[in-house]
């Protein structure tokens, strides 16, 4: 049994790499350049749930094909980009979109770097302002020590 699962895994891994080797090229017909652009953008921001980390445009997997066809259908119906994304999210969950939604956890994607920048500049400002005084002190301390040493030497 273990052997069977192993062979299955091997098969699947070979299979999945085969699917990404050749990227998918479809020939959909559109009513306008704008519509083609909407479709094109959508296939780049929708993720294929079955595959490795690939959008549905790059993947040749069966499911990616289905999703492309569905996207094409919806775009042809005149759906906007957001509507199509919502349609997919309703079925496959947030995993399917490369643009993450805002949740209590994902908010840190934006907050984290922002807080770091604010904090960084605060420290920078304080250091540059503070340094002068502190360093002077140190310097005078060192100067005293230096004097002592010099004195000792002259003695």
């Amino acid at each position: 049994m273990r052997n069977l699962t192993l062979t299955l895994c091997l098969f699947l891994s070979v299979f999945s790499s085969a699917t990404f080797a050749a990227s998918a090229i479809d020939t959909f017909e559109f009513e306008s350049i704008e519509q083609e652009q909407v479709f094109h953008d959508l296939t780049k921001v929708l993720r294929c749930p079955k595959c490795q980390n690939q959008n549905i445009s790059d993947s040749n997997a069966e499911l990616a094909k289905d999703l492309r066809n569905k996207t094409y259908e919806l775009v042809k119906e005149g759906k906007t980009q957001d509507e199509v994304v919502d349609y997919m999210v309703a079925r496959f969950g947030n995993f399917v979109r490369y643009d993450p939604p805002i949740t209590p956890a994902t908010i840190f994607l934006w907050l984290g770097p922002l807080l770091f920048i604010l904090f960084g500049f605060l420290v920078l400002y304080k250091q540059a302002k503070n340094k002068n005084r502190k360093e002077d002190e140190l310097d005078s301390n060192e100067a005293i020590r230096l004097k002592k040493i010099l004195k000792q030497e002259t003695k």
Binding site: A18, N53, N94, R97, Y98, T106, G120
Partner: protein, 650 residues
């Protein structure tokens, strides 16, 4: 038999690395000069044995010894010899062996080339490197042994190297990248040794600077190579996908970039030292984290190696030991570090720290974007994906202040700068860069977008301030040309490196905003036209390669009725793995690439064809090449440093 010798050599190298860690440290503790000095010899010996091991594996690949499991799964007798050789690092086990080989190569370089350093310091550095090697040797031997046999039932022929990897890009990309990753271990070891010693001074920054720079150059060029390879080989026409594995290489690069800048400050001015140490630890830690992410299968990636939780667990334990240990050491020892040197709010020091803050903010973006999906799922909020739209928008925001400051910084003096003095050069540069931007966009852009305006402007802003600064510096004492020849290598390095960044920004902006990607249905005899180019589909011929068959399309390209090129995209089927592959045809140029990839043949005999027009995409790789060149220049400057620095400090 040979495979067993290879494995045995590896075991010896492993034991030597243990000695290399323990014995010199014991020597320092017990004040035994012999033990301290043994560090160098042990390092060189260790390198010798791992090199033997690696050479044996390579030889086994060359002679097609399919009794070795790793070779049977990753090579084939029909494979040309150079791909058989590069197949050594084509999968997990061999690439780890390459990793340890390079790690001991760097260690040996430190042992041989640091004659001027106090022997105790070198011994500490080599001991830290030995500990790193030890961890990786154990990892290879215990979980990923490339010398395991398939006996008694070995296959007649191998399963072949993944066709994607049968390319010059793969021969070069991983070794370069690993040289970079592993190279940061030297900066790391210097930092840890300094922390252990409790002595962090400018000398420390001075010693680790060229090593860090060397690693950074390799990493820069390695990433650029990988991006270029992804562009032409995968048939996707992209150059960066924000895949977790790509991010894993990008994070150490960002940390390394921050590090080379803050090392400069620490060396010249003796400030930010504790921050610089943290960066040195981070750069290598992020390399290790990358290794973990790539090899544990914890994240879904296109480039993943075969994953295995046992391997993941091993590296994780190693990570906690090494990174956790060094951060602990840092927390305890770094507070003792005193910064010297004064500087005002507006000075070169704060400019460089600003660069660091923004770089680390970018690093946080990538780190969070890579790891948050994992956390999100673990805390029960469900699976999410974070990809291109998020990263691209964050980076296009962050690059704005970064490039603006980057333009100003070289003009700012150390310690303090009178703001008024900068008005004239900055105004001039602003004027020049705006003018060039407008002319540039007018000539090369098909339509106007704000993003393109911003990106191109930032690029030219950096270019013009860089040139302006060069002129100012050169004409300080001499006429322009004599002045330029008198400039030191490291000054040129800074200017060229910054210019490389600018070139890359322009390339990225133009490619992102003005690329045209069309999937079309074309029969032989059809043509399609856009952006002044006309693509005529002339014929489809059969293709017969050494280990593949397929079809090749023939396209004639004209621009405004002038002949430009004939392009021949291929569709290959690799015979061993039955894997279809796209070999895109690319017509490269300074201002644009044309790109054709063949899809499937449709039932009516026409072909699905993908055609791209990619403006300025070459600049994306030319920029990093300039940066790499700049890094080399800066290292060359170090040789003269011994005499010169004395003068400077006087």
């Amino acid at each position: 038999m040979l495979a067993e010798i290879g494995q045995f050599a590896l075991v010896i190298a492993c034991m030597l690395s243990l000695l290399q860690t323990v014995y010199p440290l014991y020597g320092i503790y017990a004040r035994q000069q012999n033990a301290i000095e043994s560090a160098k010899i042990l390092t060189i010996l260790q390198f010798f044995f791992v090199a033997v091991s690696f050479a044996i594996l390579s030889y086994l690949f060359l002679v097609n010894d399919f009794t070795v499991t790793y070779i049977a799964t990753n090579s084939n007798s029909a494979l040309p010899w150079y791909y058989r050789l590069s197949a050594v690092w084509g999968a997990h086990e061999g690439s780890l062996l390459l990793w340890v080989l390079l790690l001991s190569l760097w260690s040996t370089a430190v042992a041989v080339m640091s004659k001027r350093l106090p022997i105790e310091s070198i011994a500490r550095v080599l001991a830290v490197l030995g500990l790193l090697s030890l961890g990786f040797y154990l990892f290879v031997l215990l979980t990923s042994n490339p010398f395991l046999r398939t006996l008694p039932y070995f296959p007649v022929d191998g399963r072949d190297l993944n066709p994607l990897l049968q390319d010059i890009g793969l021969i070069l990309h991983p070794p370069m990248l690993y040289m970079g990753y592993v190279g940061f271990s030297v900066a790391f070891a210097f930092a840890i040794a300094a922390l252990m010693e409790g002595r962090l001074d400018s000398a420390w920054a001075k010693w680790s600077r060229p090593w860090t720079m060397a690693a950074w150059v390799f990493l820069t060029v390695g990433i650029a190579l990988g991006s270029w390879w992804a562009y032409y080989e995968l048939g996707w026409g992209g150059w960066w996908f924000w895949d977790p594995v790509e991010n894993a290489s990008f994070m150490p690069w960002i940390a390394g970039t921050a590090l080379i800048h803050s090392l400069a400050v620490s060396e010249k001015r003796g400030v930010f030292k504790s921050w610089t140490v943290l960066l040195a630890i981070s750069a290598f830690s992020l390399s290790l984290l990358g290794t973990f992410l790539v090899r544990s299968g914890i994240l879904v990636s296109v480039h993943a190696f075969a994953s295995d939780p046992a391997r993941g667990l091993f590296i994780l334990a190693f990570l906690i030991l090494i990174i956790g240990g060094s951060l602990l050491l840092y927390a305890v020892q770094a507070p003792k570090v005193k910064s010297r040197g004064r500087y005002r709010l507006f000075s070169r020091e704060t400019m460089l720290l600003t660069n660091n803050i923004l770089l680390i903010a970018a690093l946080i973006v990538v780190l969070l974007g890579t790891l948050l999906p994992l956390v999100h799922k673990e805390i029960g909020l469900g699976s999410i994906s974070i990809g291109e739209p998020f990263f691209n928008s964050m980076f296009s925001i962050l690059v704005v202040p970064f490039a603006l400051f980057l333009g100003v910084a070289p003009l700012v003096r150390w310690k303090r700068q009178n703001i008024k003095e900068l008005f004239k050069p900055l105004l001039h540069s602003l004027f020049i860069s705006t003018a060039i931007t407008l002319i540039f966009l007018y000539s090369f852009a098909s339509h106007f977008t704000w993003l393109a305006l911003m990106g191109v402007f930032l690029g030219f802003w950096v270019l013009s301030t860089t040139c302006y600064e060069l002129c100012l510096r050169a004409t300080h004492r001499f006429s322009l040309f004599t002045g330029l020849t008198k400039l030191g290598y490291s000054h040129w390095a800074m200017s060229i490196g910054h210019a490389g960044f600018a070139v890359m920004i322009i390339g990225i902006t133009m490619t992102q905003n003005y690329s045209i990607e069309r999937d079309v249905k074309l029969a032989v005899g059809d043509h399609i036209a856009f952006e002044h180019y006309d693509f005529h589909f002339d014929a489809v011929n059969d293709l017969q390669g050494k280990n593949y068959t397929g079809s090749v399309g023939v396209f004639t390209i004209k621009k405004d009725d002038q002949y430009v090129a004939t392009m021949k995209p291929e569709k290959r089927i690799y015979t061993v793995q039955r894997m279809p592959m796209t070999e895109a045809a690319i017509n490269a140029g300074v201002t644009r690439d044309l790109y054709i990839a063949m899809g499937e043949m449709l039932p009516d005999g026409a072909w699905a064809v993908r055609i791209y027009y990619k403006p300025f995409i070459r600049w994306i790789w030319f920029g990093p090449l300039m940066m790499g060149f700049a890094g080399i220049l800066m290292m060359l400057d170090r040789r003269y440093r011994v005499k010169k620095s004395d003068e400077e400090e006087a």
